[in-house]
Amino acid sequence: MTTPGVHTPIPEMPSPAVFADPKAAAAVAPRRWLGLRKGSPGDAPRRRPGALTTIAVSIIGFWAVMAIAAPWIAPFDPLAQTGEYSAEPSGQHWFGTDQLGRDILSRIIYGAQLSIPLANIIVALALTIGGTLGLLAGYIGRGVDEVLMRLTDLVFAFPQIILAMAVSAAFGPSTSNAVLALVLVSWPVYARVVRSAVLSIRGADFLHAARMLGVGPWQALRKDVVPNAVGPAVVLASLELGNAVLMLASLSFLGLGPRPPAPEWGAMIAAGSTDLSHWWVSIFPGLAILSLVLAFNLLGDTVRDRLDPRSRHGR
């Protein structure tokens, strides 16, 4: 047995090679990811979500409700002047107003309508594009693989925010261009992870067994390769959600995100950065970003610990 206690003792799955019947071999293809291998006695018991996970889900739920119900929750119009210029937090304006007399609380609530969907769109697009390319690179190999990997090298040659800045500046500042820029800088991570997941199972016995059974390459790709590559990609995506929120806010802070007067949290921080006596202008939107990113990161860690058997016990 290998290093007892580090992993939960799961009875070893019989090596597919011992099966005389290739059908049986194909049937035990390791679909541990996503818990697709349901109900077998070796399954790790379903753990109850920890307190941290509950907190994370609650925070995300809170912001989701804010985003959906903003028109009913927000006390003021986020784009209109509804008070004095740069008024301190008060009973009327809980978080104060900004330089244009707009209610900061309302702007933060409406800001959730930007950050949450945009972060999800960025991650979903990067996952789809990077995942597909990584799948092709790993499965086809050779020239396709080489070209794609060199392309990822190129993107990795830039610190993410610098390249995102250059791209969104070149396309012109707008919400869609910021999303485009962030997708462009983040797809390679997914491509690499999916590619190595594919490579690690491409030579696996159960695939050979499937081939001997006369399973075509596309069927094999769909039935065996994809399900096994999905797990690592999903883990990565959940870890990257928080990062997407942060990067989007950073681009906005640089003036390359959604155009004013959109209530983007990063841009709101930038607006308050020049005058510290009006601290509330920057502090509150920052807390909003912090709470959402922290919640996403906590959730990402949980997803990873659950889906990635190697990282059990909080690797």
């Binding site: 047995m1 290093t3 007892p4 206690g5 003792p9 019989p14």
Partner: protein, 352 residues
């Protein structure tokens, strides 16, 4: 028996799992006399490696240990860090399965061979170096001075395992635990290492606890053997007897499942079912679900009882197994022994 070197009594080790503690070793009794080679045989998951780690106090955090381990007259269970340190290296030493991961890749052989001599035996730099060279000569590493300055990756697997053995022997232990030391090696290299271990045992008055899943290796080396299954001892006794006339259905099944000798014509008989991990073993005899001779009484855990002098058996049914397999010790170990003679004395470097 008062002159035992190692006496394990009713050892239980439980590791923390997601649903509470999982017992991996469940009431093991095991004895080693000074200078004796004792084998432990078992499939992966039978708890044999964990037994080795328990003997060195290297259990993972949260492990719960029960029972008694007496080594050279001292109780080991309940040792604090300092007491463990006085046992490790100078009392009990260990050789790991894979020498490529058991040697630090970034420290020279010299450092790894001398550091504990200086810490444990309190040798000065020159004395430690001198002894290191002697040790390397003992395990037949060519050019010991050069080897001291080299890194582990510069040696072949067999050479690395010899270095690992030298490191284990550096502080003159009385007991050497060898945890599948030849599993990762080619057969010819394996034979050389086994012969070396036997030689070193005789030269240094060393007892060896040899852990393996390979019955052939066991037959060629061990004087007495213990057969483990799911964290329990199934049977024990002199190796030759246990392997040629097993009393336990599990041992018998193991023997029938391995191809023996050239020109073997009989059928290989796989053991039905899947080995249980110790943690999820059934209440009674752990082998019962896979046993051909299972009876209702097997739902009660069979005690380990003496069947003849020096032989213990944990099987209530105790079927007559004579004739269910047809081997001799020579069948089991013949190939390995001749291989050993071939590669050892004239050309120590021949295994590379």
């Amino acid at each position: 028996m008062t002159d035992l070197l190692l006496d394990i009594k009713d050892l239980t080790v439980a590791l923390p799992g997601p649903n509470g503690d999982v017992p991996i070793i469940r009431g093991v009794d095991l004895q080693v006399a000074p200078g004796e080679i004792v084998g432990i045989a078992g499939e992966s998951g039978s708890g044999k490696s964990l037994t080795a780690q328990t003997l060195l106090g290297l259990l993972p955090a949260g492990a719960k240990v029960d029972g008694s381990i007496t080594f050279a007259g001292r109780e080991l269970i309940g040792n604090n860090d300092k007491a463990w340190r006085s046992v490790r290296g100078s009392g009990i030493a260990m050789v790991f399965q894979d020498s490529s991961s058991a040697l630090h890749p970034m420290l020279t052989v010299g450092v790894q061979l001398t550091e504990h001599m200086r810490a444990v035996l309190r040798l000065d730099r020159r004395a430690a170096r001198q002894r290191a060279i002697e040790l390397l000569e003992q395990v037949r590493i060519p050019h010991p001075e050069k080897a001291l300055k080299s890194y582990p990756h510069q040696f072949s697997g067999g050479m690395r395992q010899r270095i690992a053995i030298a490191i284990a022997l550096a502080c003159k232990p009385k007991l050497l635990i060898a945890d599948e030391p030849t599993t990762a090696l080619d057969v010819t290299v394996q034979a050389g290492i086994l012969a070396l271990l036997d030689q070193l045992r005789r030269d240094n008055d060393l007892a060896v606890l040899f852990i393996t899943h390979d019955l052939g290796v066991l037959a060629s080396l061990a004087q007495r053997s213990y057969v483990f299954y799911a964290g329990q001892v199934m049977e024990s006794g002199p190796t030759g007897v246990v392997l040629t006339a097993p009393n336990h259905p599990y041992t018998s099944a193991l023997l029938n499942a391995r191809p023996h000798g050239l020109g073997h014509t009989g059928t290989l008989k796989a053991i039905k079912g899947i080995p249980v991990a110790a943690g999820s073993a059934p209440v009674g005899c752990p082998f019962a679900p896979r046993c051909d001779y299972v009876q209702d009484i097997c739902l009660v855990r069979p005690p380990l009882v003496m069947t003849s002098p020096g032989r213990l058996l944990a099987c209530v049914v105790a079927p007559d197994l004579t004739g269910s397999h047809d081997l001799s010790v020579a069948d089991l170990s013949g190939a390995e022994l001749s291989g050993a003679e071939l590669s050892v004395s004239p050309n120590p470097g021949g295994e590379r």
